[in-house]
Point group: C2
Chain length 339, copies 2
DNA sequence: TTGTATGCGTTATCAT
DNA sequence: ATGATAACGCATACAA
């Protein structure tokens, strides 16, 4: 057992050098893929590395090179509540996947709003080469300042005004919503209600806006709005309030399939058929959309790709390559049986 | 702009020492809260730190102390497919939360099965102080070996035989399933079918086992089993197969609420009422359970707490404190309207 | 192309 | 209680 501890010291670059019969510098060059090394040297070093099972010590590397090869994925605490949102989870997965083929390590930071300062200090202290901010709320202001000292890429358009020159990946929520609503109108629906997202989230605002535009373009009235929090339970409540108004409508656009699925239950309860009485479209082709009865007609977002793209862009920025500030990912309508 | 780069070098411990008028050693002691420092020295150093906005360089610290203050959360790639599973997401969130109050950093690793070796090497190389393994599959064998050289805590009981002396946090899946099925029986149901999880996942196996035990204890037949993959779509297919058998049953125990929600749609399609014709219980009090119609009666697992506990246990192990090898978290039945 | 020497910012050992 | 100094493991300018 004391044996265990003794052997736990990992092989060092020095040992590799000895076995390969070259200097430490050469080993270092091979590891860092420097072009100025002979094929034989490379072979010898790689053999030695394999033999020893050598893996570079990250800390030493960071200290010497002044680069960390680490990026942070920052999730403000209130956003973390949406952790169970399939869209959200997919983006995180995409980030991790996008990074897995690189030398970068992903550091997951759930930032308590209380001391966002502490988080910023950590990020500024050179612990990471860049940061990905996944904030769906308007509290991204504190992180925008970060952009001045550290490569940062946002997931979703930052809401604060200072977000003008931030780098971010997003979908066109206004267009997506418009598309969903136009689809309802094209099927002859004329009275389209909406269950919108929170007013302090970009996706919340933009999707109502798209709904409004589609209706106005068709000369239809845009007055039936209920807000919820993107969850099924929220959608349920919103639908109850909507029905309580007593104003008839023949279609619903829900800003998220989760809310749509909550609303579906209430409609069923009230004996309203879908799509017979009420046609529905929503955003997010997730489990909720796919397992709803009837299956929802939705706008699909390339969630995993959004994450993957965020990661790629950040790495590109870190490594000095030019990247566009705003990346809008494509969305598409996926037909279900709710329209 | 070149100004920016010039100033980007963070203040060092050395600079703090100069301003505070003490040696580097003393500064280091203050930072590490060594008891052997005078109050005046502490005050002077802290003033200097505040003045400079000094933050210790992580890499240097790691290199010198041979500790990383980082822990890895390893998610084998095939498990990553379950990323959108609310249970899974909650556990991750719990881990992040549990760590946020400590000095440890969370490094998220999605490990391609192809080179699980590469991942192991990274972990062995001293890049982290410990690892959390979230594997729901039987492929955890490769990670069990890790336990010998690194503090490791598993989420969910490891499936391999060598898992005997692994540290893990889990719920009693057998008991949970038994509870769910007993509830059905206590309501007078006698013909209980089950939609089970995959046979290569501990939760898959254990929950069928619980179902079987409950039925046998009641002298009822345990023969109606269909396997699925824990997703709504899988539940849907499984239910179709179940109905295709043509064998009547009056209750269903689904190993996950996601599958139950998929099954619900099929039952409705076939004109079967819940709980009238078929009573249902399932595991996981998540969105799916809560937004189903009717709301599902389920067994709730403390998912966030599982994650938080995993984090706490790992930190305890790393810091040499004694911890129990197996931690079983409590579950409870939450009544919905499906029974 | 390769090796030598120095430095990265901190902790730890040893004196004092 | 404090300070000088040697590691920690690697990258890199410079020399060869």
């Amino acid at each position: 057992m004391s044996d265990d501890t003794r052997h736990s010291s990992a092989p060092t670059l020095e040992e590799v050098a000895v076995i390969a019969g070259v200097s430490r510098s050469t080993v270092s060059r091979v590891i860092n893929r420097s072009p100025r090394v002979t094929a034989e040297a490379i072979a010898a070093v790689e053999r030695a590395i394999g033999e020893l099972g050598y893996v570079p010590n990250r800390a030493a590397r960071i200290l010497a090179s002044r680069r960390t090869f680490a990026i942070a994925l920052v999730i403000p605490e209130n956003t973390a509540k949406f952790f169970a949102d399939p869209y959200f989870a997919s983006v995180i997965q995409g980030v991790a996947l996008g990074l897995s083929s690189t030398a970068y390590t992903l550091s997951l930071l759930i930032a308590p709003e209380a001391d966002a300062e502490k988080t910023r200090a950590f990020l500024q202290a050179g612990n990471v080469d860049g940061a990905l901010i996944l904030s769906h709320h308007s509290d991204d202001r504190s992180y925008l300042a970060l952009s001045r000292t550290l490569p940062v890429v946002f997931g979703g358009r930052p809401m604060s005004d200072e977000g003008e020159n931030a780098y971010y990946v997003d979908v066109d929520n206004v267009a997506a919503a418009e598309h969903a609503v136009r689809h309802l109108i094209s099927r002859g629906r004329t009275r389209v209600a909406t269950i919108a997202g929170p007013a302090d989230m970009a996706a919340g605002l933009d999707r109502v806006e798209g709904w409004r535009r589609a209706l106005e373009a068709a000369g239809l009235e845009a007055d039936l709005v209920e807000r919820a929090d993107f969850t099924p339970a929220g959608g349920e409540d919103a639908m109850r309030r909507m029905l309580a108004r007593g104003i008839p409508f023949d279609a619903l656009f829900a800003a998220s399939s989760q809310m749509a699925s909550g609303a579906l239950g209430v409609l069923r309860e009230h004996g309203l058929s879908v799509p017979g009485d009420i046609a529905i479209t929503s955003i997010d082709n997730d489990y909720f959309a796919q397992s709803a009865t009837p299956r929802l007609t939705t706008i699909e977002q390339p969630s995993v790709e959004v994450g993957r793209t965020m990661a790629r862009l950040l790495v590109d920025r870190i490594e000095g390559r030019d990247v566009t500030q705003v990346t809008i990912m494509p969305t598409q309508l996926v037909e279900g049986d709710s329209v």
